[in-house]
Amino acid sequence: MATTAVRSTGSPKGMPLHLKLRRVERRQKLKAFILVLPLLLFILIGFVLPIGRMLFNAIHDHTLLTLMPRTMTALSEWEGRDLPDEAIYAALIADLKDSWAQKTATAIGKRMNYELPGSLSQVVLSARKASLLTSGPYKEAMIEISPLWGRQDVWNLMKRGTSAYTDYYLLRSIDYQYGPDSQIVASPPENAIFRGVFLRTLSISISVTAVTLLLGFPVAYLLATLPSRSSNLLMIMVVLPFWTSLLVRTIAWVVLLQQHGVVNETLIALHVISQPAELVYNRVGTIVAMTHIQLPFTLLPIYSVMKTISPTYVRAARSLGAGPFYAFWKVYFPQTLPGIAAGCLLTFILCLGYYITPALVGGAADQMVSSFVAYYTNEELNWGMASALGAILLTATLLLYYSFNKLVGVDRLKMG
């Protein structure tokens, strides 16, 4: 009776109950939002915006559009079947003159050089010579200065430059490029390296994940089942890598694994091998060093899940007639799967982004995608390529994560 009264007429102040509830909830939501606001801003400014900007670079390139405005305007009418007419060459010369005066010819040349190697010097030369031209006919004059301007593929490249958006970088990242008539063709073998790089990144990541799982699982089991006094010590040894700089650990592996390093010397002294084995600057070194770094990332989620599995499950299985191995495999192991999935996912995704370690202990054939991203960012200053490679890596990671989520369900994971 009392409850019905409350439900029908609302609060004593006359405000309906559901409004009152919503008001209280809104206040709590606001409080929660204010609590996360600083982190949200930080992530937005320090993470989402830069990455978004970077991804944008993968498809956005207005070098030619801004540096050769007249040519680009003139080219928008051009059909692309024959060489352009005199008017377009006049626009080209005007743009080249400007670029010579403003010292932007190199930028134009570099952009064209990405797609047509060898064009950089020709463009700079053309700009210098064009700045001396005073009267037409410009078409012949330009072709005279450099045969570049008489080539159909060059003009097709210029035509593609009329758009500020390009898929050139993304195509290059999966070993395609534009042919002379702006058709998409496979990259020539000397350029077609990126599919290999992606596959290598994938295979190294899978190998490292598998090795960390094989090594980490038994240790996690030991950690979870040992009495706490001995498990604490073991735990310190496991997380020790976390407290050492990544660079130091990687260099330490070089010291250990090099030709006359500790490992080789020991093996030779024990007469296991007669010649020093190649252990570093190759795939072995890469996987060993990465496994060492990643081990805690795989192990700790597994450990934290195992810690929650009561020993009575295995006891129950044993009492029901299962031998020790059968009980472990059918009862204990399935319960560790959320931890295994979480640990492996963590390690796998972190491995995809490895850069310093393969650079230090790997050979030329062990460099992963991130090395190329770094190379294009720092050495080539080709941000388009760097962004495109990064974007593809990010997309692949998200796809893997998505399919993993479909298969296992991330909500079932236990990270710690």
Binding site: S310, A316, A317, S319, G321, A327
Partner: protein, 370 residues
Amino acid sequence: MEGRGLMSSTNDAFVEFSGVQKTYDGEALVVKNLNLEVARGEFLTMLGPSGSGKTTTLMMLAGFEAPTHGSILLGGRAIDNMPPHKRDIGMVFQNYALFPHMTVEENLAFPLRVRKLGKADTHARIKRALDMVRLGAYGGRRPGQLSGGQQQRVALARALVFGPKLVLMDEPLGALDKQLREHMQLEIKRIHENLGVTIVYVTHDQVEALTMSDRIAVFNEGVIQQLAAPVELYERPQSAFVAQFIGENNRLRGKVVAMNGADCKVEIPGVGNVHALAVKVEGVGQPTVLSLRPERVRLNPTPGSLPNVFSAQVAEVIYLGDHVRTRLSVCGHDDFVVKLPSSEGVVQVEPGAAITIGWNTEDCRALDAP
């Protein structure tokens, strides 16, 4: 089931602990020199406070802990070197230990699959076991989708489905609320009577032990204090610990001043001399504890009808529905409790009233003074 009758012949012992000791740390004995026989088909309960070694005893029987000394016989055979999965003992754990990644049916199929039973047989047995615990419709669910009581019953079914001769239960009802617990006590008792299996049951709840058991072994600090049928245990506790642990009692500390056959006279400081049954006293001049059940005390008895009569003052009266609990002050002891039936004919007492109380010699047991 008459527990004591079953135990008349020791050759019939199905489970036998002989001289079993157990220490975990090499210093303190958790189980001290345990000798215990369980008859075939018996329902034996180990009752005792937490930490008294009940679980350890059960684990040694199940094979998860090895006795430090002594040996355990199952069906006449020493099982000291037999691994747990060969012992064919069903077990119900306090937290049920149902495999969370399997459905109820898969949980029940587990012991049958291990024993390589045929498909049809497996199916029939699972169905029978689920029907037995009235969960026929729940075979497809995961343990997480069941209530505590249902999980408990699945655990029971799983421990029984492969037809073990012996089932161990370690506080199986500890996590249930009172009503469900009482229901399950009767359910387990019914199943025990229907199947005729031997059950060794562990609990720290004396009411549960009294309800279900043929015999109860009262544990304290790794020692069986008394092993007897429920009636015997309640009516004739052999030590102050048992008297205290099972049911309520009034404890009066005193000194034996005279022995007279089975009876003795005990001097209680401030009260006077009390005539009591000498159950466990060491002789004249030795300290003792008198144990007196609250329901055996009579108020305002007819003078001369009882050997023990004392004056008291009513300190508190609590009405509890089926009885009235009265706290009395007897010569300075103000924690003397008397239970009076609340039906008609009861002496009406008021707090502060001066009354007399009395009791029979055989209702007052002189026990050891711990």
